[in-house]
Assembly symmetry: C2
Homo-oligomer: 199 residues x 2
């Protein structure tokens, strides 16, 4: 085999940190960038460094932000009596796009998954309790995915919050069972948001 | 929609320079890196910057290298009387893996494609002629892909080199018509290399 340059090998290996990119895709990406888009690659390099240094988690809702408190949490026009719990920032964006929810969020950044060793601590449940029990929140809407892990997470969180006297609801089952929020159309999510039921 | 941080938006947009990555994949990649692999992302950022600055083209064979002359071209044990013309470094690697070819290479970094505005100048044919007419080369093996564009490229190069009195051969048609070298198994490429025919 021809010995290619070490920085090309390093790049090919480094590209494999991207989800769904194997050795062959990584090689194609490296060649593509070197041959056709060196400027884009330079920009991507800088963007990666900048984002990793600057992006952290919102102190209140745990989503990605560059400040202490994200723009959603610091928006005084939003309804602080409603708190919607989602798994990921992508789920949060999908719900925002439906325009049916004007409350606050808490982003778990994951879901309970005992098989993967992900427990209550890993999805920041102590911070969720702190947030939900701040006196302003009247209702917690559970909007985790309708997968088995998402349902288990919703059940766990629901029981935990109800034990603390909070009112808890769940997105209506307009969302197809087994589906993930990120891939459902906004109309379906809108119905599910409007039909949410007490648990 | 929640306003996410500008460096996250910048990263998502920058990831789209990768081949086959659309808005949704870019978003997933950005979230994945921020949540699960910040070290890998930092390394990728550095690898991109390093590779784009350091990798250039070999003066002789035109493949990617960090030096003036690549390791294959500067290997005195290789047969300088044979010159194999390929479209990409990935094709070159596939041929090397068959262990049936010990000559030199010329990497076009593309193929003739009039519809995309890619002409003889873009695939460095003047440098190929210079290389092939250096006195040492006795036979040029055309190993462009067996697609219509690759075949046209091989025909064009073949006529050009034969007009200069060089002996030209083509990989045997063991390679499936319409197939691309990069995805063919090494055994098929090995047969094609052994059965190459004069044109």
């Amino acid at each position: 085999m021809p010995k290619f340059t070490s920085s090309l090998d390093t790049l090919t290996e480094a590209l494999r940190c991207l989800p769904g990119v194997g050795p062959k895709s990584a090689q194609r990406m490296a060649y593509h960038l070197l041959q056709h888009d060196r400027d884009g690659a330079q920009q991507l390099g800088r963007a990666l460094t900048d984002a990793m240094q600057q992006v952290r988690h919102c102190q209140l809702c745990n989503t990605f932000t560059e400040s202490e408190i994200c723009s959603t949490c610091s928006d005084s026009e939003r309804d602080a009596t409603l708190l919607c719990v989602v798994e990921t920032p992508a789920d949060q964006m999908m719900i925002e796009q439906t325009l049916t929810f004007k409350g606050m969020y808490f982003v778990l950044m994951g879901r309970l998954s005992p098989l993967d060793g992900i427990g209550p601590r890993d999805i920041h449940l102590e911070r969720l309790i702190e947030r939900a029990a701040n006196g302003a929140v009247k209702e917690v809407v559970l909007a985790t995915n309708f997968t088995s892990e998402g349902e288990a997470t919703a059940h766990y969180i629901g029981e935990m919050l109800k034990a603390r006297g909070l009112s808890v609801s769940r997105l209506a089952r307009g969302v197809p069972v087994g589906g993930e929020l990120e891939y459902v159309d906004a109309g379906t999510i809108a119905r599910a948001m409007l039909d949410r039921r007490a648990t």
